[in-house]
């Protein structure tokens, strides 16, 4: 810590103290004409920025060192955590313990906590779905929540009008999600990356606003209540039993999603998605149909959102358009970005951390969205690959080596 650095950090913190002064410190009441001066906040800003600026510089230095290493042509060094994930001596007991914990969870903890876990699992599933679109195919979809809404409303409306049960609605919700994915994807997928982001955002908002305004169809802002929880051969569940049932259902759905995503990742289609993300022009020149490939990724992502939406409706038993704002899409994006674009394990970790942490650290929950915003920026600046980076399948060729 040189004198130069301290001076620089002092200047930075001074700059932020001045910059945040009106909004952080002053609070006016325009009706009663009173002012509240919150000077202590100014010092808070000063001290935290001072500390953060050192952290920033340290991380920046590390990042640059990493880039230089790459420039010299040295292979990426797998981090310790990464190696641990591939060490059977470590992973096997870890998987067994995690499995036991997952099974025991609803019996040890309260309904309230089981419900939180279900929410986290819904994010795992939507995160894995969005990961196909953003992480694998490299298409930034900011309207992802629209497909989630489509799934939820499919179940709610089918049930309301025709009494369709959960188990039938689940594949139908996925199917309608996929249909919407194809319908919306078809016109927009030839757009360049950043325009695609905005158009999908637009589509997401259009669907939400239509749900809000088209009372005859969707019951408007008041939403739909009394959506039945999933049944099991007509058995009557108590609230606790029903919650536990949904919990295991969600675990199964999450496992199924992981299974599907992992198989897709190393398949002919999955490779095409990744190639598309890496270099669109080269991908096309290698004989891959751009539109078809993008559409398949978009539709796959939408299918999973649709299914998660059905479960969401069944879990909360009440839905309204307010659950499906653009910010929901961004939270899911945050899950993918934090965990690691293209990595299934990463997305699971991302979802659990981002959803559970604010729930359990109550002091945090107020700052939830603020932190999500900061996470997006910080991850992009320092670790765009996420906490767990993508690992590609390797192949062994016996006796053929040169």
């Amino acid at each position: 810590m040189s004198f130069e650095q301290i001076k620089k950090s002092l200047l930075v913190s001074l700059w932020f103290m001045v910059l945040t002064f009106p909004i952080m410190v002053i609070r006016v009441n325009t009706i009663y004409h009173t002012v509240e001066w919150r000077w202590h906040r100014m010092f808070g800003v000063g001290i935290s920025v001072f500390v953060l600026s050192f952290l920033w510089r340290y991380l920046m230095g590390r990042k640059e060192a990493g880039l230089k290493r790459k420039d010299r042509g040295e292979a990426d060094i797998l981090s310790r955590s990464q190696k641990l994930l591939h060490e059977p001596r470590f992973t096997r007991p870890a998987v067994i313990m995690a499995g036991a914990f997952i099974i025991a969870f609803p019996f040890i903890f309260s309904i309230y906590q089981t419900n939180i876990m279900i929410t986290a699992l819904i994010y795992v599933v939507t995160g894995l779905g969005l990961n196909i679109v953003v992480g694998l195919a490299g298409l930034l979809d900011l309207g992802y929540v629209a497909f989630y809404a489509v799934g939820a409303y499919s179940y709610a409306l089918l049930n309301y009008h025709f009494g369709v049960g959960f188990w039938i609605a689940l594949p139908i919700g996925g199917g309608i999600g996929m249909l919407f994915g194809i319908l919306l994807g078809f016109p927009v997928l030839r757009l360049r990356g950043d325009y695609l982001a905005i158009v999908t955002l637009g589509f997401g908002e259009i669907i939400r606003l239509v749900l809000e305004n088209w009372n005859a169809f969707s019951f408007g802002p008041s939403g739909i209540a009394n959506i039945p929880r999933p049944g099991l051969f007509g058995v009557d569940f108590s609230l606790r039993e029903a919650t536990i049932y949904i919990y295991f259902l969600m675990i199964a759905l999450a496992l199924f999603t992981v299974f599907v995503v992992r198989r897709l990742q190393n398949s002919r289609i999955g490779r095409a998605w990744i190639a598309l993300r890496e270099d669109e022009t080269a991908c096309q020149a290698m004989g891959i149909d751009k539109t078809k490939t993008k559409l398949s990724a978009f539709a796959m992502g939408a299918t999973w959102a649709g299914m998660a939406g059905v479960v969401f409706a069944a879990k909360t038993t009440f839905i309204n358009p307010a659950s499906f704002t653009i910010w929901e899409s961004i939270i899911i994006l945050c899950v993918v970005v934090l965990g690691g674009m293209g990595s299934a394990i990463g997305v699971i970790i991302g979802a659990l951390v981002l959803i559970l942490l604010p729930e359990y650290l109550r002091a945090f929950s107020e700052y939830r969205m603020l932190l999500f915003g900061a996470i997006l920026v910080i991850m992009m600046v320092f670790r765009p690959g996420g906490v767990v980076s993508e690992v590609r399948q390797t192949y062994q060729f016996k006796g053929k080596g040169d």
Partner: protein, 300 residues
């Protein structure tokens, strides 16, 4: 005819505000090919800063002209500061990263700033003092439009003229145009590209903040969320005009302002925001290069 004229003027007012925001989008996009998602937040922060300053000065009993002047200047300066800082934190480190990364960073910044204001100030609507005075010379037109509408339209026009002169004739303006055309080349001929990018953010932020102050005092209330929808709509306007083109941004804004105004006036006001989004989707699908934009061919 009176109703038509009302809608025409309110469309022009809306369009002027969109134009003030859209300019920042289009300038930033022209130079670093980034959709600065946090731009709408700058507009919101401008309005909040003006409200806070005006609130404090009102309590200390300053006279109204002084309040207008000081509040606007402080709001502009602060927004410039925010614009500058945002670029340094969230975009500069990503200059050579894939565009997707910079875009995600921009979304994060937008989310952060919204919640920063929400937490530090309030989630409720705040009453904004009517900063724009009832100019005597305008009251004779008051049967046509409110004075604040005139002030918005006139100040926007002035800003446009000044900005055009700045870009066309000053040395910095020329450097900006050069950087927009070819950043590598600009660097080679000795233009400090980082400085140019900073200046672009600063100017864009200033016009957005002006828009924020004007619209707030026209409508009379603000909240932390106001920047998001306005930002998206201004972006629609910028794309409509042809992103990267400054006259395009103004033209696009006016077209959007009028169509929105007539649509809500004659058709339906329920679907006002839906309309803007549908507009966006249609433009991007059918004419992504906009009215005045050049279509860019990718280099292979």
């Amino acid at each position: 005819m009176g109703y038509f004229l009302d809608l025409f003027l309110s469309g022009l007012t809306r369009g002027s505000i969109y134009a003030l925001i859209a300019l920042g989008y289009t300038m930033v996009y022209g130079i670093i090919q980034l959709i600065n998602f946090a731009h709408g937040e700058i507009y919101m922060i401008g309005a909040f800063t003006a409200l806070i300053v005006a609130g404090v000065l009102t309590i200390y009993g300053w006279n109204q002209m002084a309040i207008i002047f000081i509040a606007s200047i402080v709001a502009l300066l602060y927004s410039m500061g925010y614009g500058y800082t945002i670029e340094k934190i969230a975009y500069k480190p990503l200059r050579h990263a894939p565009r997707l990364s910079a875009l995600i960073s921009a979304i994060g910044m937008s989310l952060f700033l919204q919640n920063y204001v929400l937490l530090a100030q309030t989630s409720d609507f705040m009453l904004f003092p009517s900063l724009i005075p009832d100019f005597k010379f305008l009251t004779s037109f008051s049967h046509i439009a409110r004075p604040s509408e005139f002030v918005i339209i006139i100040s926007t026009a002035i800003v446009m003229v000044l900005l055009t002169f700045f870009i066309k004739f000053t040395k910095t303006g020329k450097a900006m145009r050069a950087t927009a055309q070819d950043r590598q080349m600009a660097m080679l001929v000795g233009i400090d590209v980082n400085r140019v990018i900073s200046i672009t953010f600063i100017i864009g932020s200033a016009t957005a903040a002006l828009g924020g102050v004007l619209i707030a005092s026209h409508i009379g209330q603000i909240n932390f969320y106001m920047g998001f929808i306005a930002g998206i709509k201004a972006f629609v306007a910028a794309v409509l005009g042809g992103i990267g083109s400054m006259p395009g941004a103004v033209l696009g804004s006016l077209v959007l302002g009028w169509t929105e105004s007539f649509f809500t006036g004659y058709v339906s006001s329920d679907y006002e925001d839906v309309f803007a989004f549908i507009f966006l989707v249609l433009i991007l699908i059918f004419r992504p290069s906009g009215i005045l934009g050049r279509s860019d061919t990718q280099k292979v």
